[in-house]
């Protein structure tokens, strides 16, 4: 069975064989990994410049950390991201810009200033989100969270079969988005590691990711430095890069197409290596034994 699907993001088109790096750009004071390093707008802008130089295919700009914390209302979220998206769009007319938000009100505001992709990390908590993506011709990420409330941690959640649950939820959301007017090749599905999932669940999703990459939709994975990597290896945040890259390689082998990451250079190398082994990309340069 073939894996993935062609994908359109902004004006760009990518084949099913593409493996894309989506660089995380936080406009938050409290995200778990960077702990506010790019909270200041100029710092966030420097981060955009850096990841573009490093070869990121798209950026994912977020104004609210995923974990529980201070309540950030829509007005505050917009003040963090809308002007910033506008600035990035002006500086990088061709860069694919994603915004990490579950709120349709925020999605509308960022689409008005040029966002290409709405990354709904919270599983369609706001049912109007797809209609905004449809209205602006934007792309949309649908995620599996098991239906939890945004910004909550999973606690004692169980599934009969987490992959089956993700598959059903993602197919339902993707078809709903299309029925609401989002172009079929602009819908991405994301099993959302660690969202509504304990480590066992995230490991199961990783192991069986091919059951999602063969559904006919492009798959996004967000693995970077997450707790399931940390718990698999008993390593704290800050020491999870190697584990993240190993998980990245496994998902890449299964055919995931978009990788939401903190470390662009390392991810790019892993993805290119897998693409080369899979035959989706020729090796960069071949002389050994051939001179």
């Amino acid at each position: 069975m073939s894996r993935g699907a062609p994908l359109r993001l902004g004006r760009r088109e990518f084949p099913a064989s593409a493996r894309l790096v989506m660089a995380i750009v936080n406009r938050t004071p409290d995200s778990f990994y960077d702990k506010g390093r790019t909270w200041a707008e100029d710092a966030a802008f420097d981060r955009v410049r850096q990841v573009v130089d490093q070869g990121a295919d798209l950026v994912d700009i977020g104004g609210i950390k995923a974990a529980p914390g201070a309540e950030i209302d829509a007005a505050e979220e917009k003040s963090r991201v809308v002007g910033f998206v506008d600035r990035v769009r002006s500086a990088y007319p061709d860069l694919v810009i994603s915004v990490d938000t579950w709120r349709s009100e925020v999605a509308r505001a960022v689409c008005e200033v040029g966002a290409d992709l709405i990354n709904d990390a919270w599983g369609g908590a706001d049912p109007e989100l797809p209609s905004v993506a449809a209205e602006f011709g934007a792309s949309l990420v649908c995620t599996h969270t098991g239906g939890v409330t945004p910004r909550t941690r999973p606690h004692r959640i169980e599934y009969d079969d987490v992959v089956a649950d993700a598959r059903a939820s993602l197919l339902r959301q993707a078809e709903r988005a299309v029925s609401m007017g989002v172009a079929r090749d602009r819908v991405i599905i994301d099993p959302a590691h660690d969202f509504g999932k304990n480590t066992w669940h995230s490991l199961e999703v990783t192991k069986r990711l091919d059951e999602l990459t063969t559904l006919g939709w492009p798959v996004l994975v967000s693995l970077s430095n997450k707790d399931f990597v940390g718990e698999a290896l008993d390593l704290p945040v800050g020491e999870r890069l190697t584990g993240t890259l190993a998980a990245t390689a496994l998902c890449a082998w299964h055919g995931a197409q978009v990788y939401r990451v903190h470390e662009v250079v390392e991810t790019r190398q892993v993805l290119d290596l897998v693409s080369v082994v899979a035959g989706d990309l020729p090796p960069a340069r071949t002389v050994r034994g051939l001179a």
Binding site: L281, P282, P283, A284, R285, T286, V287, G289, L290, A291
Partner: protein, 211 residues
């Protein structure tokens, strides 16, 4: 009367199936194609005969690399392959001479000789460094520059085998033809060794005859 002799390398990196995103053989390939085109234009033909060696380390059933490289380059040059002389890479010189005589008995054709010098030209070379490589390679280059068939026929098969000089036998087949034809001069000669293997692109042409 078509009777030029072109020498090109048999490096597999000239083949599309071995080319990565960066085409490391692009320049060399272009020089080979230019040489074949120039020779066939001068000879007033669009056909060539290939002279190639068997593989030194054959593992399977594919045609020899020299044959595949020669066919690929001829195709890029837009010329057809009328004949193919495959000589054992380690054939004794007498055998090469005999093959050359058979070839000379046929109507004169543009020859494309797929042949490399030593693969032991440096520490990083495929066969590591052999101090004798430089001198033997220089004798190959100077023989081609002088279109000196006798000098090519004097190459020592055992030493060339030690040096992994894949082109010795086909060069000696060609030299036998050159000896029979006579009068060739070296019109163009390009020598390089980016990876420790001697690559020669040479074009030897007959004197221009009055129409």
């Amino acid at each position: 009367m078509s009777s030029s002799v072109v020498v090109v390398p048999s490096a597999p990196l000239l083949l599309p199936e071995y080319t990565g995103r960066q085409d490391v053989g692009a320049d060399l390939r272009a020089r080979c194609v230019d040489a074949i085109r120039a020779a066939t234009d001068a000879d007033g033909t669009d056909r060539v005969v290939l002279v190639v060696a068997t593989d030194r380390e054959q593992r399977g059933t594919r045609p020899p690399l020299g044959q595949r490289v020669g066919r690929h380059l001829a195709g890029l040059a837009g010329v057809g392959v009328d004949g193919m002389v495959v000589v054992a890479w380690d054939a004794p010189t007498a055998e090469c001479r005999a093959l050359g005589r058979h070839l000379s008995a046929r109507p004169a054709a543009t020859l494309v000789v797929v042949a490399d010098g030593s693969a032991r030209r440096g520490e990083k070379a495929p066969g590591h460094l052999d101090e004798r490589a430089a001198a033997v390679d220089e004798s190959i280059v100077s023989a081609l520059r002088a279109a000196d068939a006798d000098a090519l026929l004097a190459l020592d098969p055992a030493v060339c085998a030690d040096l992994l000089a894949q082109g010795r036998a086909p060069l000696q087949v060609a030299a036998s033809v050159m000896a029979a034809r006579g009068g060739l001069t070296c019109e163009a000669l390009d020598v390089s060794d980016p990876y420790g293997v001697l690559y020669v692109v040479a074009r030897l042409t007959p004197p221009i005859t009055a129409p």
